[in-house]
């Protein structure tokens, strides 16, 4: 499931009330229906839900618009053919190093995110999140591991990526900190 947030950026003083609108996207019809039912049960109306594969119908018009993206990809290392097989396995199957879907979304990131846009993405150790941070430096992104937790056999790490500000000062705090 990917969630995209549009809203006034973090840089403003907290005194102002801030609203934002969210898009929740997943390729599983069951997942999107469950999401919508949950939202309705909690009377949440700021979220629209879409069934789509990899943000396909949104990429063109969302260029440079996404302020925050939260992504829970299929990150489990599996044989590559499991990635395209469909069915329930598509909820976890990430192919070689668990990176097939992750890498496709990372490719979209420079276009999708707004100038102050940020990505939060769930990864496991096998995805080599530090390696992702190093690779994304070349595309003008900074990154860090925002949180880490052991869940049974999975070493979960929340990867946080954001654009390098123009005139980078390496001592500057990350947005949102």
């Amino acid at each position: 499931m990917a969630s995209l947030v549009a809203g006034p950026s973090f840089g403003h003083p907290a005194a102002h009330r801030r609203t934002c609108q969210l898009l929740a996207v997943d390729h599983s019809l069951a997942a999107v229906e469950a999401t919508r039912n949950t939202l309705q049960a909690h009377q949440v109306t700021e979220v629209d839900v879409i069934a789509a594969s990899l943000l396909g119908p949104l990429v063109d018009k969302l260029r440079g618009s996404v302020d925050i993206m939260v992504f829970n990809p299929p990150y489990v290392p599996t044989p590559d053919e499991e990635v395209e097989r469909g069915g329930i396995a598509s909820a976890w199957a990430g192919g070689y190093r668990g990176r097939r879907i992750i890498d496709r979304v990372l490719q979209l990131l420079p276009e999708l995110l707004s100038p102050r846009g940020e990505l939060f993405m769930v990864t496991v150790a096998e995805n080599e999140p530090q390696g992702i941070i190093e690779e994304m430096l070349g595309f003008g992104f900074l990154g860090r591991i925002a949180a880490a937790r052991q869940a049974d056999e999975e070493a979960l790490q929340i990867l946080h990526l954001w654009r390098q500000p123009a005139g980078l000062d390496t001592g500057a705090p990350a947005p949102g900190q």
């Binding site: 006034p8 609203t19 609108q21 229906e33 109306t45 879409i50 396909g56 949104l58 969302l62």
Partner: protein
Amino acid sequence: MKLLTHNMLSCHIKGVKNGYPFLIEVIKVSEHEADFDPDFLKHIFPRINWLAFLQGAEAMGCREGLPEAPTETYLEDEQFQKAFHHALLEVTLEEGSLVCPETGRRFPVAKGIPNMLLNEDEC
């Protein structure tokens, strides 16, 4: 599906060049109250394709009070803010279709959720 979302959707069937905006076929529309935040409206206004927004609002029955070609100065006017806020965020397509303007392909909308999944031959 709100008109904010409709404004961001384009047809991604392979080879389609003019797949925006989707035409909206309405079976059922609902309305709800959304928190009124003029700062959010100012933030989102530059990202809205106004022509597509008007077309969508016409189909969803909330075109009233929306000017043809507003500029940023309109954002200071409370009447405009309210009309913009209402059409953008408070009207939801519950049941209907999004129709690709180039191919005529219908993407169904059920329980407020557009199903944009492509068939194998469309990817």
